[in-house]
Point group: C2
Chain length 141, copies 2
DNA sequence: AATTAACTTTGAAATCACTACAAAAAAAAG
DNA sequence: CTTTTTTTTGTAGTGATTTCAAAGTTAATT
């Protein structure tokens, strides 16, 4: 019985290839992490978690990989807060909610994404909708 | 004839007081700058411009003032791009448009601000809508 | 008005996220 | 296998923002 590696069963390399990204191991690792956690992590959070299983992974590589995935459109950068970029492998339009107390960033997939029609002489490339407030877990009473 | 200083005629101190901000001179200067320019400037741009007329103004003070104005709600911080916070004294709901080519941030006051209804267990404090794309001035052809 | 307390300003140093760079390693091409 | 191209890594650098403590202002109290 042939040994099966994880990337053969989860289809991550193929998803990356569909974005024109060569599925190198660290790219697969970071992309799988983003998909599995769906956490909107910072580069630092990704590195902290992955370095536990990949001790040689450098932070520079995490930045390189994230920049490459963003350029190719496989991942979106979410500017939810000044001085810390967050990353999201869910690239369909959806509203984000950032809790002021616990800091978590939620996907509000359950509500519709608004239609924005700017004047015709502006050309849209991307629309970000970010709500700030207090999440269900942090409500008092 | 009594000499009239600018702050007596433009009502800036009163506007600041209405937000619970004591109208110290630098606060008035920064706030008036934001209102007059309506430019969504960075802290650095504000300092660069104001230091020409107020040579002793330190960058730290600009940061202090901006943080205070944001805390008191007199000014909004717009996270339009990673590692550069921009500031806005127009605090009514409006859509922002950032041009990828010239970097300018426009107010799209002419289009309606979308209604966002998150699940009731989330409490909203602020909604930001940021469009990325190319502005009229930067369109080719 | 003088004294005291509270707040603000300042510049230097520190922090923190991110980038630049160049050498080493790995992958692809021939 | 050899050469070329791409990727990874650690170190050093950058730039925006914060921290800190001293000096300066403003407000409150005698
Ligand atoms: Mn998301
Ligand atoms: Mn605005
Ligand atoms: Zn929360
Ligand atoms: Zn433009």
């Amino acid at each position: 019985m042939k040994k099966t590696v994880r990337s053969e069963i989860d289809g991550i390399p193929e998803r990356l290839r569909s974005f024109g990204v060569r599925p190198l191991t660290h790219r697969v690792d970071v992309y799988r992490y983003l998909i599995e956690q769906n956490n909107h992590p910072t580069a630092d959070m990704i590195h902290n978690d992955l370095v536990k299983i990949l001790p040689s992974l450098s932070k520079t590589t995490v930045y390189n990989v994230l920049n490459h995935l963003c350029e190719k459109g496989a991942v979106h950068r979410v500017n939810v807060e000044q001085h810390e970029a967050r990353y999201d492998a869910m690239i369909h339009d959806h509203v984000h909610f950032k809790c002021r107390l616990c800091g978590k960033v939620y996907d509000l997939d359950e509500i519709p994404f608004p239609t924005i029609d700017p004047p015709t002489d502006y050309s849209i490339e991307i629309v970000q909708v970010i709500i700030g407030g207090i999440c269900p877990d942090c409500q008092t009473g």
